[in-house]
């Protein structure tokens, strides 16, 4: 009973690492642009496929992560400038934007399905023999994933706290109009946001398939609600909050899965998302300043 709990917590930390990379990307994008981007999962899938293609052509291991990240960044920038911005210019508000991202996710998901011939492909790139770490049975792959997520967190915090770009990002997330008035080039910062959050999105996609060792068009379909829940629970725009919330989501999901069944763990994750959406400050219509407008 106790050992089940401990190993569930261990799996929860691994799941949390995977969620956290995506959640950090989502929270940066959402915190700054205020777009509830439900096509985030679809972009993860595309980046995962790009990494798979790179891998099947001989490029292996760590380069796959970089390639997936770059693919995610490029696609997100393309979508941000080519799709979201024109819609915003035509007067789309928060809600219409979310509808746009939904339609986009339909198109991307099924385009991936069409191109991949609705197949699932194997992606075994790192050795995965389990070994004992205290009371937890863990594989090398999972340990590497945990370290990747810690690395991403540290890198992101360094970027946000120590660089000028980071300061501009934080300023824009807090109050875009004031940031613009202070002379921050908001257009450029939005581009940086797309690239940064897109890179993390792509990275998260590759990390996800490294863990599941397979890639198909439904990769990340049930994953996105967990990511959105973690991002919003942790506070939009806060990477550290996203990581802490991911830990909560991951551990709750795995513990429910260990003591209940798999379906219930998914329901628990979804349930947390619903509760978070209902109760988080900034949820109320016409809420705090900066949270009712799109910044694109």
């Amino acid at each position: 009973m106790w050992s089940t709990f401990v190993s569930a917590v261990g799996f929860g930390v691994v799941l949390a690492s995977i969620i956290s990379v995506a959640a950090m990307g989502f929270t940066i994008q959402f915190g700054l642009t205020n777009v509830l981007n439900l096509s985030f999962g679809a972009v993860m899938t595309v980046a995962a496929f790009v990494a798979y293609l790179a891998n099947s052509h001989g490029v292996g291991g760590w380069s796959d992560l970089a390639i997936g990240g770059v693919a995610g960044a490029a696609l997100t920038l393309l979508l941000g400038r080519g799709i979201f911005k024109p819609y915003a210019r035509r007067g789309a508000q928060l809600f219409e934007m979310m509808m746009v991202t939904l339609g986009l996710s339909l198109i991307i998901d099924y385009a991936v399905q069409a191109i991949s011939h609705n197949n699932i492909y194997q992606y075994a790139v790192l050795p995965s023999r389990p070994f004992q770490l205290g009371a937890i049975l863990i594989t090398h792959t999972q340990l590497i994933i945990v370290f990747i997520s810690i690395g991403v967190l540290v890198g992101l915090l360094a970027l946000l706290r120590l660089t000028k770009v980071g300061k501009a990002l934080r300023a824009m997330a807090a109050d875009p109009d004031l940031a613009r008035a202070c002379g921050i080039r908001t257009g450029q910062i939005v581009v940086v946001t797309w690239l940064l959050s897109g890179f993390l999105c792509g990275l998260a996609g590759v990390v996800y398939i490294i863990n599941t060792q397979s890639v198909g068009y439904t990769t990340g379909e049930l994953f996105l609600p967990l990511v959105v829940a973690a991002a919003i629970l942790g506070g939009a725009g806060s990477p550290l909050g996203a990581v802490l919330a991911s830990l909560i989501m991951g551990i709750v999901t795995e513990v429910v899965s260990a003591f209940g069944s798999d379906s219930y763990s998914t329901v628990a994750g979804f349930g947390i998302l619903v509760l978070v959406l209902l109760s988080r400050p900034g949820s109320v219509r016409g809420g705090q300043a900066g949270h009712t407008q799109l910044t694109l």
Binding site: L94, F95, L106, Q113, A114, V228
Partner: protein
Amino acid sequence: MTAWSYYIATLTVYFGVDVLAALSVNLQFGFAGVVNFGFIVFQSVGAYIAAVVVLGPSSGTFQQYVFGARLPFGVALLLATAAGAVLSLAVGLFSLRNIRSDYQAAILLIISLIATQVVQGYVPLFNGSNGITGVPRPFGSLPLSLQGYEWAYAGWVLLFCAVAYALVTWLSRSPWGRALRAMRDQEDAAAALGLNVTALRLQVFVIGGAIAGLSGGLLVEYIGAWSPDAWGYAETFVIFTSIFVGGVGNYRGAVLGVLLVPIVFLELPRFLPQVGYPGLMDSMEWIAIGAIWMLCLYVRPQGILPERRNRARRASGKAAIPAEPAEQMEPA
């Protein structure tokens, strides 16, 4: 010719069910501003309830489900409608709050996902992923040919459509309907005028849910089976695309949209030559739905048949939208 007749009759049934769905969604979205992205759950609960109520008690070996009361199909339809209403009351009570519209839509979408997981996970409820089958057809004992029955059922469904259409049009023209539109357009002003906005929203949600449940009951009594594959969260988008194309907030447009999108557009690939591998056309259909969706949002958010503004005003020659009054407020 018989094959064609069979095909058109089946299409008519699906058309009727989709019209009911579109009326439900249009009532909730077009008139009350509630985006019910979890619509399919309410149709599905109606279908499940109708199915388990018409079937006999669960044997437990072939398929497991609750109830099993072997009631007549008419009662089953009533219970399906009631189930849709009750579920939408429950969902509406906790999710129809004063929150950001994109959060609200996301919440209802997530509820659809939760429902799928719950039904798949808890098998004794509705037989999990395998679903329920063997639902007998209503009026099966009538001396009708196979083809005659299909057309009779199509007529039966269209009858319900006509009744529902009359009901929602009448509701929309009533003072209640005007209150809904006031709430949709300027909620704060409506509340200041004394309209109970929360109650209105809940009422509309429940009525829409009842119609959705009815559509599910009619559908399951035709198909004879119902499983989670039939009610993925994406099915809701087909209905929403129909009302976008036809015109949000007007019912003739909703009917036109249903004719154009699920019937004409989604059936068209059946007559085109096979391209690519089997299953490619299905993917392309969903891509096309997404593309139509985004195109409608970009080009004409109000749809093809825009809502008819004040007929009386137009008849008397005045402008549909009055010009801004010229007088300024005197400073106190």
